[in-house]
């Protein structure tokens, strides 16, 4: 069964939230709640309460990146110092620990930041193609709800939106 997209634009978060709440409660057949995407011009933290636990996993990237960076840093530096052409410094051992820790720390941060950003791109699915329905209004001042649902469910969903003062509904052209 083919699915279609539908974008509803709202004027404010209250309306959009109410619409989402109702959609979730309505349990419409042919519409999976996870297929609902909220688009907003600003980050709206409270929306998560309604959308449920959709978690972010970037922090695991961060941890891995930082640890890797630190370890890599330490061993690269110490290994380089202990390589075939050891550079002897009077009064200091060939592998001196305090300066190596400085660089280890820098590499720890570097790894952490870089891999976090990589994690962000992966987790947020960026770079991404434009989704089928998009309105520039979303980047201005309107809240968009993008749903993907079976053809038959569309009418019901639209009804929910209209109940909550939707400004505009865009539909994907039929196939």
């Amino acid at each position: 069964m083919s699915q279609r997209h539908l974008l509803a634009l709202f004027n404010n978060f209250e309306d959009a939230e109410a619409a989402i709440y109702e959609l979730r409660a309505a349990n419409i057949k042919g519409f999976n709640f996870d297929d609902l995407t909220l688009k907003s011009p600003i980050e709206h933290h409270e929306v998560e309460n309604i959308l449920g636990q959709r978690s972010a996993k970037v922090q695991w990237f961060t941890l891995a990146g930082a640890l890797m960076g630190g370890l890599l840093g330490f061993f690269l530096i110490s290994g380089a110092q202990a390589n075939f052409y050891a550079q002897m410094k009077g009064g200091k051992p060939i592998v001196p620990l305090p300066p190596n820790f400085v660089l280890t720390f820098e590499m720890f941060v570097l790894g952490g930041v870089f891999i976090s950003v990589l994690g962000f791109l992966i987790c947020a699915g960026l770079p991404a193609r434009r989704s089928p329905l998009y309105s520039a209004k979303v980047s201005e001042d309107q809240i968009g709800i993008l749903v993907k649902a079976d053809e038959p469910a569309m009418a019901k969903i639209k009804g929910v939106f209209l109940n909550h003062g939707v400004l505009e509904i865009q539909e994907e052209a039929g196939k």
């Binding site: 002897m88 009077g90 060939i94």
Partner: protein, 284 residues
């Protein structure tokens, strides 16, 4: 640079010079300079120009403090307010002290200055990128930077004058740090000869250019770990030890009869040049 190598030889890589053990074997080049014999005549300095291809920078650059004398003679006056310096002046030849724990070595970003197995503080001209951090960190200010491209400067080595250049010593281009090497080219030659004869360099077999010229023979140079060498005996007699920051002489109350000291010992660079205090007659 495998991690295995690193871990297996960890203790070796964590070894401290020169404190952990006898620092160098079979060579540790060192010097002792008798300030009582030094007359301040500058012969050593000119000899160094001749041996090491030092550029003559000319009046203007000298005025800007850009002179390149690897060994300089300093003249000090007494610091009381007498009308005349009736005890004469004090002269001090100052060159790279070839520190065992050199402050310059650790700071070079590209490792262009290192400690050699012979206990020298080596300067690798090719490697130097000219950050001048070593010079900033040298307490003696005996490192000299090539502020200009002296080899191509019109009046430094004009035609014919360039034929005097010592082929055993590099001519340094601009942007490179340089300093006294203890005439390392001579040391290499002597070591080579000795090695081919299956022995170590004998005392007196190799001289630095300044030592060779010094009309008053104030400079002795040699292998500090060779018990036969004059330098070893002098250091021994003066009870000066390489890896100490306070010597017997300074510990004794009311002074001692020893004359040996090293400049800025308290900073712990462990310099390889021992000076013998200048003596002044007490009877006049």
């Amino acid at each position: 640079m495998s991690v295995n190598n690193l871990l297996e030889n960890w203790s070796q890589f964590r070894h401290f010079h020169p404190v952990d053990d006898k620092p160098h074997d079979p060579y540790k080049w060192a010097m002792s300079i008798d300030l009582d014999a030094c007359t301040g005549c500058n012969a050593c300095s000119v000899a160094c120009y001749a041996e090491n291809n030092l550029p003559v920078v000319g009046k203007e650059k000298y005025a800007h403090g850009q002179a390149m004398h690897w060994i300089r003679i300093e003249r000090y006056w007494d610091e009381d307010d007498r009308e005349f310096p009736d005890q004469g002046a004090q002269f001090l030849p100052m060159m790279c002290q070839q520190c065992e724990a050199a402050p310059c070595e650790t700071v070079c970003p590209v490792a262009a200055t290192n400690h050699t197995a012979d206990g020298l503080n080596s300067q690798v001209y090719n490697r130097c990128i000219g950050s001048r951090y070593c010079s900033a960190n040298c307490p003696y200010k005996v490192r000299y930077f090539n502020w200009y491209d002296y080899p191509s400067d019109d009046n430094v080595w004009p035609a014919e004058m360039n034929q005097q250049l010592n082929p055993d010593v590099t001519v340094r281009g601009k942007g490179v740090m340089e300093k006294c090497t203890f005439c390392v080219q001579r040391l290499h030659a002597a070591k080579g000869t000795a090695r081919s004869e299956g022995r170590i360099v004998r005392d007196g077999e190799v001289q630095t250019a300044c030592q060779q010229a010094c009309p008053a023979s104030a400079i002795s140079f040699g292998n500090l770990v060779d018990p036969e060498s004059r330098v070893h005996k002098q250091w021994q007699a003066q009870q000066v030890a390489l890896d100490k920051d306070v010597q017997t002489k300074d510990k004794e109350e009311g002074g001692s009869e020893l004359r040996g000291y090293r400049i800025f010992e308290e900073l712990r660079p462990y310099p390889s040049v021992m000076y013998l205090e200048r003596v002044r007659e007490s009877a006049v």
